[in-house]
Subunit: 414 residues, 2 copies
């Protein structure tokens, strides 16, 4: 189908969905969960076709693993749909109404964004996760997944559309762009007449391209160049544990640490504690001059690019600073405004770090790995915004909403 | 100066301003008001130069009037700065903190957006209004005004920077892009490394160009294709008064009505009451077939473009519908999601209209002209957002903010 026409249908469906009410939306989510539970075999077969094509084209094992579905993974996805269903509906809430001096009664009512475009790569679970979050928050979604997962996506979007129909909602509440050429992504990015926001989910290049080329408003998510700063007043054992967790518990995710900053007064003592932990995963240490003089053969010399790198791997940049002040400047210069942590016993340093570091989440004495919708109590997450506009940090259901002013008058003119 | 360098300086200043505190910011606003009060003569002289150049290049009288400053206008601008100063500071507020099951204490703290780029046309008052709102909300602004006002802008930005310095804040909290070529606007739109948001203020073409070409997030403001729908159950006298107000009280602004939709059952009676009012300003009526058959010589035939037109003039499109349902569909298709009104005595029609019309402000029995930061009680306004992302409707100080999560831990790892 023509993408403009798909946009038009999505917009039309969005007006119906916006006033569908919570019960109707939950009925549709339940129907989706049941549909996936009873007909998951179809999805698995389609996924096998994708896997065969991917293997034939020489896809790497790590990528193949992301693409692969299994009965267990599908069960997890269904459980996710049920969890989203159980969350409170953010739509319709009016946070107080006020009467103005002229008698107008004005309130701000929470409404869906409308039509959300999701551009993502070859992870078939995103297709259902994103659709469920959009549906619960009253938003229509247009999904544009990677070409490697096209058969999986066609199948599961077909199943979800059947479920929508069964629940009495327009099928066009969820649709897939089946053309996976670069042109189709480009066309979606220009569809500002019908699409209210684009959320790219994937690597840095994808996100930057979408931000650069889109006339539809974009929410940038998931770029994570995160730091752990070990202050001179840190509990060094705590600092070593936190750094180990922030770097090694899951290095491929955006809230993992990429760089440790260490106050020079404690650098030697701290590294003595931290390196044995990092050794467990043979973490490569890319060091400035001072760190190198401490670590010797264990470190390698960093290049300037290392200070801005998102490794997503068992690699860590190591930089020694003279003060908390220098650490804050370094973070504000090189960080991606995602998650930043200070480890210190010093009350004033802790408060200063919280105040001056410019990031979505700033931690005192805890791992950056907590930046996550579930950990923060949002109940779900469509991504972690690293921009300041609209939403910042983990985006739950209420970050997928907007407001409208409703005004009750009795003939007022101005 | 190179625009990248200007961006870098602005970003550096933004970190200082973000933690400057309310008293400091108010001190700077007071210094600006005093500076403009004591040295307004310099601004007037610079403005005279702009006016001479503009007249020589054949600028139209209405545009010349927008460009012109006077002692009275400057007094009004100074009063505006003082009003902004008196508003509560939105920054620093934490709307409750929660302890998570793992003991992390998490709060959302209100913070400035950072660096705001304002692209606007030849209205020198915008230079001060925008700078004052940004300063109060802790944001650095980079101003890029129209070339016709360049001398006025250079002068007043110079005065404001002097005032900032006097108050002990970085001069770079307010800066002007002095190069008014198209290239400089383009460069600003690509400065996503340093600029957090762009707010274009001006005509539709300017706004669409910025939305299309910018990699910096944009807030679209001020496109207004607004409707008044006269329901079959309307108080027709009230409807005529409201339409007259919505169309004629200030036709050049974005919350003025461009189109009246009339239920066919009351079309003839309503037009009998409304046309004599509209006659006072000789409003041109562009009509569909049915309206034309009622109005005869008083109307002219509408072309399809009329249903999407923002006239900003004494022109009104007139369209007759068969139902409230048809009116809602028409508005959702042709409106710009700004301000929409229904005039009715019917409770259910009123609620349905509020529910289903997709716009920043939806009115029952009141004029669309009320959509305004002052009328809504925000105390100030930098524009009226017609998008759903980040802010919708009149944007006051709190719409110029973002949040950051602050997290107090005691060694937690995940």
């Amino acid at each position: 189908m023509d993408i403009r026409e798909q946009g038009r249908l999505a917009k039309a469906a969005s007006y119906k969905l916006a006033s569908a009410g919570s019960s109707k939306k939950d009925e549709a989510l339940r129907a989706i969960a049941e549909m996936l539970g009873s007909r998951y075999g179809e999805w698995l077969s389609a996924n096998e076709e994708d896997l065969r094509n991917a293997e034939a084209s020489g896809m790497k094992p790590a990528m193949l693993d992301r693409l692969r579905l299994s009965k267990e993974r599908i069960d997890g996805i269904i459980e996710g749909v049920r969890q989203v269903m159980a969350l409170p509906d953010p739509i319709g809430h009016v946070d107080g109404m006020d009467e103005r001096p002229n008698g107008l009664i004005i309130g701000k009512k929470r409404v869906p964004l409308g039509v959300i475009g999701i551009i993502y790569e070859a992870r078939p679970n995103v297709t259902v996760d994103a659709a469920a979050l959009c549906l619960k928050s009253g938003n229509v979604c247009i999904l544009r997944g990677g070409k490697e997962a096209i058969n999986s996506n066609k199948c599961v979007v077909g199943l979800m559309r059947e479920a929508l129909k069964k629940a009495g909602l327009p099928e066009d509440c969820i649709s897939l762009i089946e053309d996976t050429s670069r042109d189709s992504a480009k066309a979606l990015m220009q569809l500002d007449e019908y699409v209210d926001v684009l959320i790219p989910r994937g690597g840095r290049d994808l996100i930057r391209t979408v931000a650069r080329e889109s006339s539809v408003p974009v929410i940038r998510t998931g770029e994570g160049v995160c730091h752990v700063y070990v202050d001179e007043a840190a509990d060094l054992n705590m600092a070593a544990d936190i750094l180990y967790n922030a770097k090694c518990s899951r290095p491929s995710v955006c809230n993992a640490a990429e760089c440790v900053l260490i106050h020079e007064a404690v650098a030697e003592d701290f590294l003595k504690l931290a390196v044995p932990l990092l050794d467990k995963h043979a973490v490569e240490l890319r060091c400035d001059e001072r760190a190198l003089s401490i670590l010797g053969q264990r470190g390698i010399k960093a290049s300037p690019e290392d200070w801005d790198a998102e490794y997503d791997d068992y690699i860590l940049a190591v930089h020694i600073v003279d003060s908390e002040d220098e650490a804050v400047d370094f973070i504000n210069t090189h960080g991606s405004s995602h998650s930043e942590a200070i480890i210190t016993r010093d009350y004033f340093k802790a408060q200063d770090f919280l105040e001056r570091v410019d990031a979505a989440a700033v931690y005192v004495n805890a791992s950056t790995r907590f930046t996550d919708g579930f950990e923060f109590g949002l109940g779900a997450e469509i991504g972690i915004s690293t921009q300041k506009l609209h939403a910042r940090g983990p985006m739950g259901l209420s970050e997928l909403t907007s407001i409208k002013y409703i005004v009750y008058g009795k003939g007022q003119v101005r």
